[in-house]
């Protein structure tokens, strides 16, 4: 499989995206920490993490007996570079800020 296909395949699963969200919120977690509060068997978390690592979306670092997982944003950045032109970036950021503000007001 091409590296790029691995990235899109890895991202096409809600549980794997949830694992990335959790690492994005707090980088450098162990398997046990990542399993906490998740409705997934430890075994399937391990499989998801392996797939994410094969797609280079996470990097692992050994620390003593523990293995820490880090979100690697490099492949996601490559997707961004591919389709977002440099002249569009500021306008898109402004648009995203606007959406966030409008939706926050809705909840007041």
């Amino acid at each position: 499989m091409k590296d790029e296909d691995k990235v899109f395949k890895a991202l096409a699963d809600a549980n794997r995206r949830k694992l990335l969200d959790r690492l994005y919120a707090r980088n450098g977690q162990t398997l046990t920490e990542l399993c906490k509060g998740l409705d997934m068997a430890r075994q399937s978390v391990t499989q998801h993490l392996d797939l994410l690592e094969a797609a280079n979306l996470i990097a692992t670092v050994r620390q003593g007996r523990e293995k820490l997982h880090y979100f690697n944003p490099v492949p996601v950045h490559a997707i961004y570079e591919r389709w977002i032109g440099k002249e569009e970036r500021q306008r898109l950021t402004a648009l995203a800020d606007f959406k966030r503000k409008m939706e926050a007001n809705d909840h007041e």
């Binding site: 980088n27 990097a59 490099v74």
Partner: protein
């Protein structure tokens, strides 16, 4: 405690020697990073990451902690205004490993102060710099990374 840490990994179709050279050769860093990395790269020596504008101001300064070509480069890292304050230093390890006919470049940036400007700066910065380095080494053309900064 300065314990924020990030790990970035990129695969580049190039020789380890070439990738390592691209990290420490100012003539090369200016082409994809738009800054000169300047030092004699001896352990204990000072290094500077200088902007290319008229004044060539250093944007990052620090010490070379380890330089083992073409495998490992470890740098201390601070903004020039914090140079005297040891507590503001972070640490960057660049590791180059051959994998099949490619190179796996791992950047570990650690001992970062949570909530600091440096932390904000690097978390968008490294993926952009690494993509540009990959593009530069594989195609001869960098990404226009400066244009995407405000």
């Amino acid at each position: 405690m300065n314990d924020a840490k990030f790990v970035y990994v990129i695969y580049i179709a190039a020789k380890p020697e070439k990738v390592f050279e691209a990290l420490i050769d100012g003539e090369m860093t200016r082409q994809y990073w738009f800054h000169d990395n300047v030092s004699d790269w001896k352990p204990g020596s000072r290094w500077e990451h200088r902007h290319l504008d008229g004044e060539k101001q250093a944007r990052v300064v620090g010490k070379v902690l380890e330089c083992t070509p073409p495998k490992r480069l470890v740098l201390s890292w601070a903004s020039p205004e914090n140079e005297a304050d040891r507590s503001k230093y972070s640490r960057v390890t660049l590791e180059v490993e051959p994998v099949a006919d490619m190179v796996r470049l791992t950047v570990t940036h650690e001992e970062l102060e949570p909530g600091s400007d440096m932390l904000r700066g690097i978390s968008g910065g490294w993926p952009r710099v690494l993509s540009s380095l990959k593009s530069f080494l594989e195609t001869g053309k960098p990404l226009d990374i400066m244009a995407s900064k405000k």
